[in-house]
């Protein structure tokens, strides 16, 4: 159901305009009085309506603002951050950051990046998302819960919207601003003997279809009743996009960062084909099919990075610190600096293949269809071994067709080894959010082997 057209600002709590936030950032920068200072202001309005057993049980909205000051001078760096409208915020920011800088030991300090003239776009933003109301979210919950209840199941999930304004300015001349939005609907359905799942994410609430979401979750739940156990072992699998997103997010976190490479923690061996030639993964912050955003936490334009090209390890994402160590330009993947974590690939896109879901089942032959991976954790980072559980619908694939449901299984598997044998890649892709709320654009895939351990 689309958001009805309306005028005015519908969220409820008044937010500052982009111009006001820029003005706040400028005033902090001026107070810091340094060419080598950087100010980031992030303001967010976030609303989430949560439902369980066909009724809304939690319904929240928050407005928050974060101002962060980084001061770099004389081989020292200091940082201070204020959240909320703290009294005397500007003065306290400057005093605290400067005190931290003066006490820091002098040493190798990454200078603030210079402006790169990149555009403040494209940005995933929708006015309709910004104007959605509590009443609209409740109507979407009703639109989900009704067909679920009519099918004899119970619905659990969220309808969620957020609008974020981000401003980064610095004494080196950086002036970036962007207004972005996200909208999500998820639905778990519970029957007497099993669960189903469906999710949709987009920047525009009008692109989320509650009825279609409910239909998918009901169908999945209907198929997933009375699962029986299956002997653990190595099986070919078809992974739904929900599961592929988890796999690719962990792959990226284990190796796509230049810092992981510099610290010899990354599995990536540039130029070597470690995975199937059917796999191409890029970090593309400008892909309009996903959730584009133009710059990183230092205000550096985020450039596309080809991380895996037809199975061959290629590039790494950089922030200004890792870039300096290799004397290359930053790719614009910084988190708030300085930090110990390093750059982060946050716009992951997997290239589509040419297979329908039916084709992928045929590619699999006999194996398992996995809807979701749950509680995925690293076991051996350098070997990209992870463990986790299947969840909300695991089915046998029997001679190319979806068969009976099986009980959730634990897997312990090297991602790289699994992706070395890709039998097919789906032609349809969807936007998924991982645990870190990073958007990934991914298809379903068929893998030749996947190890289930209990």
């Amino acid at each position: 159901m689309p958001v009805p057209a309306r005028g005015g600002f519908g969220v409820g709590l008044v937010s500052a305009s982009p111009a006001e936030l820029l003005s706040i950032a400028d005033s902090v920068l001026e107070a810091a009085g340094r060419d080598s200072a950087e100010v980031a202001v992030v303001e967010q309005q976030h609303s989430l309506t949560r439902f369980a057993r066909n009724q809304i049980h939690q319904n929240v909205t928050e407005t928050s603002r974060r101002i962060r000051l980084r001061v770099v001078a004389a081989d020292r760096v200091g940082v201070a951050e204020v959240r909320g409208e703290v009294e005397g915020a500007t003065e306290r920011l400057v005093t605290t950051a400067e005190a931290a800088r003066l006490l820091a030991p002098a040493g190798e300090v990454t200078p603030l990046p210079k402006p790169d003239a990149g555009p403040d776009g494209p940005v995933a933003f929708s006015r309709a998302t910004a104007e959605s109301t509590p009443e609209w979210r409740a109507s979407q919950v009703r639109a989900i819960a009704r067909p679920v209840a009519a099918a004899g199941f119970e619905a659990f999930g969220v309808v969620e919207t957020s609008v974020t304004q981000t401003v980064v300015v610095s004494g080196t001349g950086t002036r970036r601003r962007a207004e972005s939005s996200t909208a999500s609907m998820t639905c778990l359905t519970r029957g007497e003997a099993g669960w189903g799942y469906a999710a949709r994410h987009h920047s525009d609430v009008n692109r989320l279809d509650a009825e279609a979401l409910a239909h998918e979750a009901v169908q999945a739940c209907g198929r997933n009743q009375g699962a029986t156990s299956l002997e653990p072992g190595v099986y070919p699998v078809v992974l739904a996009p929900y599961a592929v997103a988890e796999l690719v997010a962990h792959l990226a976190d284990l190796g796509f960062s230049a810092q992981a490479h510099q610290e010899r923690r990354s599995f990536m061996r540039p130029g070597e084909r470690l995975m199937s030639e059917r796999l191409t993964v890029v970090d593309d912050a400008a892909d309009l099919a996903s959730m584009p955003f133009p710059f990183d936490d230092e205000g550096v334009s985020t450039r596309g990075v080809s991380c895996v090209e037809e199975g061959v390890c290629r590039g790494f994402v950089h922030d200004s610190a890792t870039a300096l160590r290799e004397n290359v330009p930053s790719t614009g993947h910084a988190l708030p600096m300085p930090n110990t974590y390093g750059p982060w690939a946050r716009h992951l896109v997997v290239s589509p293949g040419d297979r329908s879901l039916e084709d992928l089942l045929v590619d699999c032959g006999t194996g398992l269809y996995v809807t979701r991976l749950w509680y995925v954790r690293d076991v051996h980072p350098l070997h990209t071994i992870i463990t986790g559980m299947t969840r909300d619908g695991t089915f046998l694939i029997d001679q190319g067709r979806l068969g009976r449901p099986v009980r959730d299984l634990r897997f312990t598997q090297s991602i790289v080894e699994a992706l070395a044998e890709i039998r097919g890649v789906g032609r349809d892709r969807s936007i998924e959010l991982d645990e870190g709320e990073r958007a990934l654009l991914v298809p379903a895939v068929c893998l030749g082997h996947f190890a289930f351990t209990s």
Binding site: G12, L13, A52, I56, L103, R142, P338, H380, L382
Partner: protein
């Protein structure tokens, strides 16, 4: 703070809230980190805001706001009520709250040395000494040490008359040394993994960690792991150190005894629980050696306070008594479903989040054994310490954990360092196989600072008292050889 609370509560009641509460929170966090001889981070953030929860037409609404002028606060109170009315449009049953007598009171974390009064210079000096000591060990590739301090001033008011002021202080610190070879990355941590050990305490908690004094040891251990053999695979006797026992309690007892998970309130994200209400009082969760409590009064724990975020008095609840499942952690709303009173476990990680049922300090009560006795009376098995990976299913039954360090035990002695150890099992079978828990002298309070739950996500700091313990017939393996 009191004025803000009164204003907000008046506004909510004027909007016909049947019940309202409000939390005014000021939070100050200081983080300092040194990595590979470089000054990696010194940051300080201050956070202030108000969370308003309103019950209207039998349904909940919540608004969080960080603007503290009267207009914004009243608008937020009205928004909370509007959200509640929207919730009521899709309501099957009205919310009922278990009774809770109004409270007026104050609580403060006992602190001997205020961490915010210790100079940044002293903190940096400590970290630099620890970082340098790790870096001096040949073969170590990266090393880092960090500190974090939290001071949170909370004021709680409810339309039922509660007025509570609390000052919570946390001190945390830790360090990691990593050694790398062509096919291995091995890390050792002190005092715990996940970046740090944290307690509701003053700076004395940091002094007790002795980071510089343990730096060379963990660096050498990380290097030694590179050439250690892989942990053997098989069904065997398993001894866990206190830190890993604490995480085992967290995942396989703490979460499944949260009553909101049982109701399905967390099904959309964190999951449900295998511990259904029909099992209370009769289900054998573990062996007779296993008694687990949720104790918000335990000294030093990150879940220690005077009152929870619904104004319910801190209390000690026996979750598992000598192996028998006895009770849940609950809220006023969930407890009312079963005719119980709240166990006082409602906690929010900040002003901008609603309180959820969260662990307080979920403790494995001490036994009568000791680590050395357990090892000495083990013919064949492994002793594992410090968590490296963790995963459990959404009902909290099927788990697999990995640890940083392991020792093969033969004929009652630690005979060999082993690496990449994993162990797996199912929760009740595992706890039923426990045949020894170390006594009070080896029991420590550990802090878990990364407990995620809820939508929007909340990261809670919770405590776990634990001691080394031993299990029989556990599936042990290695992640890679």
């Amino acid at each position: 703070m009191r004025d803000i609370a009164e204003l907000v509560l008046d506004a909510a009641v004027a909007e016909r809230a049947e019940y309202a509460d409000c939390r005014v929170v000021q939070r100050q966090v200081q983080a300092v980190a040194v990595k590979d001889g470089r000054f990696a981070e010194t940051s300080s953030f201050e956070d202030e805001g108000v969370g308003i929860r309103a019950l209207v037409d039998g349904a909940w609404g919540f608004a969080g706001v960080d603007r503290l002028d009267a207009e914004s606060l009243e608008e937020a109170a009205r928004l909370a009520c509007r959200l509640a009315r929207a919730s009521a449009r899709v309501r099957v049953r009205p919310v009922r709250l278990a009774p809770c007598p109004p409270v007026v009171g104050r609580y403060a974390t006992p602190v001997r040395r205020d961490p915010f009064e210790v100079s940044l210079e002293d903190k940096l000096d400590l970290l630099i000494r620890a970082d340098e000591a790790m870096g001096r060990v040949a073969g170590v590739t990266t090393h880092e040490a960090s500190l974090e301090f939290v001071r949170e001033h909370r004021y709680f008011g409810s339309s039922e008359g509660s007025r509570i002021e609390q000052l919570i202080v946390e001190s945390g610190g830790g360090m990691d040394a990593t050694a790398t070879s062509s096919d291995e990355v091995q890390t050792r941590s002190h005092p715990n993994s996940f970046g740090r050990q944290q307690l509701c305490s003053g700076y004395e908690a940091i002094e007790a960690m002795d980071l510089p004094g343990n730096a060379e040891r963990i660096a050498a251990e990380a290097v030694a792991l590179l050439s250690a053999p892989a942990c053997p695979s098989g069904t065997m006797t398993l001894i866990l150190d206190g830190t890993q026992a604490a995480l085992q309690v967290h995942e396989s007892c703490g979460h499944p005894t949260e009553l909101d998970r049982v109701r399905g309130d967390e099904a959309a994200f964190a999951g449900t629980s295998f511990l259904t209400p029909d099992l209370v009082g009769r289900f054998r969760y573990g062996s007779e050696h296993i008694t687990i409590t949720a104790d918000a009064t335990a000294p030093l724990g990150l879940g220690t306070f005077g009152w929870d975020d619904e104004g319910v008095t801190a209390q000690r609840t026996v979750l598992v008594d000598q192996g028998i499942f006895r009770a849940y952690m609950s809220s006023r709303e969930t407890a009312a479903d079963y005719g119980w009173t709240s166990s006082g476990a409602m906690r929010a990680d900040s002003w901008n989040r609603i309180p959820l049922i969260r662990m307080t300090n979920v403790n494995l009560e001490p036994g009568t054994s000791s680590l050395e006795e357990m090892i000495a009376t083990t013919e064949s098995g492994v002793y594992l310490e410090t968590n490296r990976s963790w995963s459990i299913d959404d009902r909290r039954l099927n788990f697999q954990f990995g640890t940083q360090n392991g020792f093969l035990i033969e004929d009652g002695k630690r005979v060999r360092l082993v690496k990449n150890a994993l162990y797996a099992g199912r929760t009740p079978q595992f706890w039923r196989s426990c045949d020894a828990v170390a006594g009070p002298s080896e029991w420590r309070m550990w802090g878990t600072v990364n407990c995620g739950k809820g939508q929007p996500d909340q990261v809670m700091h919770v405590g776990h008292g634990a001691a080394p313990c031993r299990f029989q017939r556990v599936a042990v393996s290695a992640s890679a050889s």
